[in-house]
């Protein structure tokens, strides 16, 4: 694997990009990080992801892998000699895929309403968001990680959202520690991992970024 060329097309606040950063760090894979300006997408990005034109894109020896959860599975399958990200038992793998998919289907849109809208729409977003986190807390139960004793696929799919929590709390006027204490405890546990701490941006930096976005979308 020493001659592998690995490039990550990414955007620093993207919770989806964070998934790949964490996965590559867990596997100790050396890669080149390329920051994309989403208002001015590079020819490389448009060539590597012509269908969706989105980040993150993993480029492995010139071949693109798009869609973050798919790319994390790919990383797990290629660099299989260390830090397994998916469980080995078929039923546990199915549960991991189910919950990673749930996060994609439910969490992003409701979270977006918290910082990106006002009034009734924002309230609806807040309610859905807390509900989602509560469902996820139910799934986590008393386990240290969603993967059980081992940090894995679902933890990776979810933890990036934590870097946006200060923004959600500020603009949504909510306290996640009060509403979802288990979730916050789990997140802090994950943050103690090197791979996570190095992959997530500072929450204040994200807040500043959201402030600019809100002005741009006329929410302020």
């Amino acid at each position: 694997m020493a001659n592998d060329e690995v490039i990550l097309l990414d955007f620093w606040p993207s919770m989806f990009g964070m998934r790949l950063r964490i996965a590559l760090a867990e596997k100790e894979v050396k890669y080149e990080y390329k920051e994309e300006d989403l208002r001015n997408k590079s020819p490389l990005l448009l060539q590597m992801n012509p269908i969706h034109k989105k980040i993150p894109v993993l480029i492995h020896n010139g071949k693109p892998v798009c869609e973050s959860n798919i790319a994390v599975e790919y990383i797990d399958e290629v660099w299989k000699d260390k830090a397994p990200l998916l469980p080995s038992d078929p039923y546990d793998r199915a549960q991991a895929r189910f919950w990673a998919d749930y996060i994609d289907k439910k969490l992003y849109d409701s979270a977006r309403k918290i910082w990106g809208t006002k009034g009734e729409e924002q309230e609806a977003g807040k309610k859905d968001f807390i509900e989602c986190l509560n469902v996820l807390e139910g799934e986590l139960g008393d386990k240290p990680y969603f993967g059980g004793d081992n940090f894995g696929f679902v933890d990776i799919a979810l933890i990036g959202f934590y870097s946006w929590f200060y923004a959600y709390e500020t603009y949504g006027n909510l306290s996640t520690e009060a509403e979802c204490p288990k979730f916050v405890a789990w997140a802090k546990r994950c943050m103690q991992r090197d791979s996570v701490a190095k992959s997530l941006p500072d929450q204040h930096k994200v807040l500043e970024f959201i402030k600019v976005l809100r002005k741009k979308y006329g929410v302020e």
Partner: protein, 229 residues
């Protein structure tokens, strides 16, 4: 070889249920089919899929697995001795998963939007978007099949099941609206693939005929109208 009871909660008209039926048949596994009626969800369904309350649900040794794409991969993992559903190469697997996601999240929702759209103009606008998607799928097929009959090679695989399962309903909608969604002139390779897929031994008794689906659709809407008045 996995043992234990295998039950499938579903309805024969659901393309997502058909996917699971095809995958199990590929592995020579015969499930106990538990019929769900779409108007009143059973206790078993609500208990097995509390998050989405939807079919299909596969119950393997009474343990539920939900979401058709998750179920297909579970079947492949659990019965490794039968023919493979997903490709063996990690990159090919990533490509198969990518297109499955595209089909379920972008392409098929447009087909449903087309069905629900009212008036020729609205339908034509949605059809244009679907046609763009069709071209992408045609290109993807040519790239992925590497000269073989199916997405999966010389035998049906994951993507064949994911896309093929939807074709019954696509054709039923074409019948009901008297408009072509799958244009053979614009997607000739997929048109040929469609015929091969539908006549494949594993598939042919599972995907219902479009005429039957159109009839079900009519009946379902009549029932809905009657109960809402």
């Amino acid at each position: 070889m996995a043992t234990g009871s295998v039950k499938l909660l579903g309805v024969w008209a659901s393309p997502f249920v058909n996917r699971v039926e095809i995958a199990l048949k590929m592995k020579s596994v015969e499930p106990e089919f538990i019929l769900e009626t779409t108007l009143n969800k059973s206790e078993l369904l609500l208990k097995s899929n509390p998050v989405y309350k939807k079919i299909p649900v596969l119950l393997h040794d009474e343990k539920p697995i939900c979401e058709s794409l998750v179920i297909l991969q579970y079947i492949d993992d659990s019965w490794p001795n039968g023919p493979s559903i997903l490709p063996s190469d990690p990159y090919d697997r990533a490509i198969a998963r990518f297109w499955a996601s595209y089909i379920d999240e972008k392409w098929y929702p447009l087909v449903v939007e087309f069905m629900k759209a009212e008036g020729k103009e609205e339908k034509a606008a949605v059809l244009e978007k679907i046609s763009e998607g069709n071209l992408l799928l045609e290109e993807a097929f040519i790239k992925i099949n590497k000269g073989n009959s199916f997405f999966g090679g010389d035998r049906i695989g994951y993507l064949d099941i994911v896309l093929g399962s939807l074709l019954g309903w696509v054709k039923a909608i074409e019948m009901m609206d008297e408009m072509k969604i799958l244009d053979e002139t614009k997607m000739p390779s997929l048109a040929e693939w469609d015929k091969r897929f539908c006549s494949d031994n594993v598939v042919k008794d599972i995907i219902p005929q479009p005429e039957k689906l159109a009839e079900i659709h009519r009946k379902f809407h009549q029932m809905k109208k009657a109960t809402s008045n």
